[in-house]
Symmetry: none
Subunit: 195 residues, 4 copies
């Protein structure tokens, strides 16, 4: 029974949680991640700084939760066609990373994951790992159906799918944009993975 802890004292105002996260996202959008200050978030939310630090132990933790509040739950499509499924997943991933607010935070989150920080680990476990797992299960299903070669290493396959998508997000500004990109990618991958 983790939910029914004892409740001494005045309970936290849940509305305040929302106000803070919303303020954080606003500031994030306006001044960017590097210039985000707790004073600004507190002022915007109409809240004391202590109230923020009572909930999150660092600025980073707070930003994580703010961003996480934007992340839709991952749903795995299952149309039966591996080609269709993959294109859909790719597009969804792209949408998620390009989200108006959260999108600008994604690169920073990535660098946190790469640096192996506390924040990074948290984000990886909460967001990345489940999505990788879901994708792998989809590939396993296709493989057992005979839609993919049986000797294909699925872990590598996951890298081959998600790698280009993330690269496109991160380096999008220095690459030509191609509306048919997802299709070409999946075509290129499946060409070698089938039969």
């Amino acid at each position: 029974m983790t939910s029914t802890e004892r409740k001494a004292g005045r309970p936290r105002d849940v509305g305040v949680d929302a106000a803070i996260l919303q303020a954080a996202l606003q500031v994030l959008e306006e001044v960017g991640l590097g210039a985000l200050s707790m004073d600004a978030v507190a002022a915007r939310a109409g809240v004391g700084k202590a109230t923020i630090y009572r909930r999150w132990k660092s600025k980073e933790d707070m930003v994580i939760d703010a961003v996480a509040s934007l992340v839709a739950t991952a749903e795995t499509p299952a149309t039966g066609s591996i080609h269709t499924d993959l294109v859909m997943i790719l597009k969804r991933l792209g949408v998620f990373m390009s989200h108006a607010k959260g999108g600008s935070v994604f690169p920073w989150l990535v660098s946190e994951v790469a640096a192996g920080s506390e924040v990074g680990r948290h984000y990886a476990e909460a967001v990345i790992v489940p999505r990788r797992r879901a994708l792998k299960q989809l590939l396993e299903a296709a493989q057992s159906r005979g839609d993919l070669r049986s000797d294909l290493d699925l872990e590598v396959a996951v890298d081959m799918i998600t790698g280009p998508v993330i690269l496109r997000k991160l380096f999008g500004s220095i690459r030509p944009n191609d509306p048919l990109w997802e299709e070409k990618l999946v075509d290129g991958l499946l060409a070698g993975w089938q039969s």
Copy 2:
């Protein structure tokens, strides 16, 4: 006449440049990128802060140059075998990103590129774009030799090659490591790209 400007007064001590960059790399290694302070670098180098700012206009610029000093020049292999060439490029890319000192800066650099900052643009133009171009040229040569399908979109192909490598670097801590990873990747790609 850019090289022979007039030289009134004391000339800059070129040894100081090196001392600063070296100190920056040391501090980088010890406290990480987030905690790197100019005061620390200046103290380590035995140099005044003004001397640093006379050379670079911001902390970020300095760090870029510090890291750049570690980056070997990109050489394109040309063994004639597209498979061998790709495996070699992949391994080299991996080594570069995993460099003891510079490696920890790479994720941050990536996020700068993604954010489209001044620093990011600078880095992209100096490092990423040339490497993408070289890789593309290699693929073009292979295509004209008939080693790759003539309808393969080479821009997408470059994404398919570099994407997974970068992903592996960034998310390496949350993925299983596979010593044969590069071979499997190239095999998986070429299977669909050839004949």
Copy 3:
């Protein structure tokens, strides 16, 4: 009918009053007046802060009451000998100001009086004025007995008696201590006041 107001609801726990004042004095002794915090007093008393503020409207008010609880009622000696009476009063005043707990608060109280704050006025009226009045009455009695010169300004005389005592308390740390001090003082004063 001030005592029998209507009494709806639970009555105040009088034990709590004592617990708070005692805790306040303890904290006062340990960390000093400047560092005394309501949180500390509340924690020490095992009491909510609101419970304190229900009784006193400010920290200062509370401290006043805490200190007042230490102050013995002023009794005017009347031995018939002005010399004996004055020495006794002086010694009693010194003891009061040097009280283990309250003594350390006395200087602060003095500065409040001097600053004319609410707290200061309250303290002056409750403690200082009555004592000055009592002392003056004692001098008047002596004057009417002929023990003091009839042209002596008793208001000034009160200053001449209490001034040095308070000074001795306040600046005691930077003055030599003299066990016969009170006698010498009274001798010095009466020498000019009599006959």
Copy 4:
């Protein structure tokens, strides 16, 4: 040679010292001692807080220096008449303690002295002790001239003179004011000290 220390780096801007002290006095006058904040002083002086803390290690230290800048140097009068000298000293002391700006700080300073704090010790040594010493020397001279009884304890005499003055300052608000007070006091004292 305390004055000619080595001088590496940019020297402190002495104008800044003055600006800070002046700002401190202004704020002191406006909001009082208790509400004086370093942020306010820094803002008023157009100075960073660090610049203040580079000069004084605490708010209290700074206030002391600010007030000290108002204190005229103590000069001992020597008219040859002990009566005239004493009245003059008393009036001067009163003026000093009632200074428009510094006067409000005096009571607080007294409580610091009484509490034996660092600040208090500093102030006592710099201001109080020298003045007591000067007064004692004046009395000694009078005693050797035969103007004062030879058996008078001068340390107690100093207390008898300064005590009432300080008391009058501290408790002035609760006492009647008397324009002839100083004369009456000196008369009352000397009556017993002479012949």
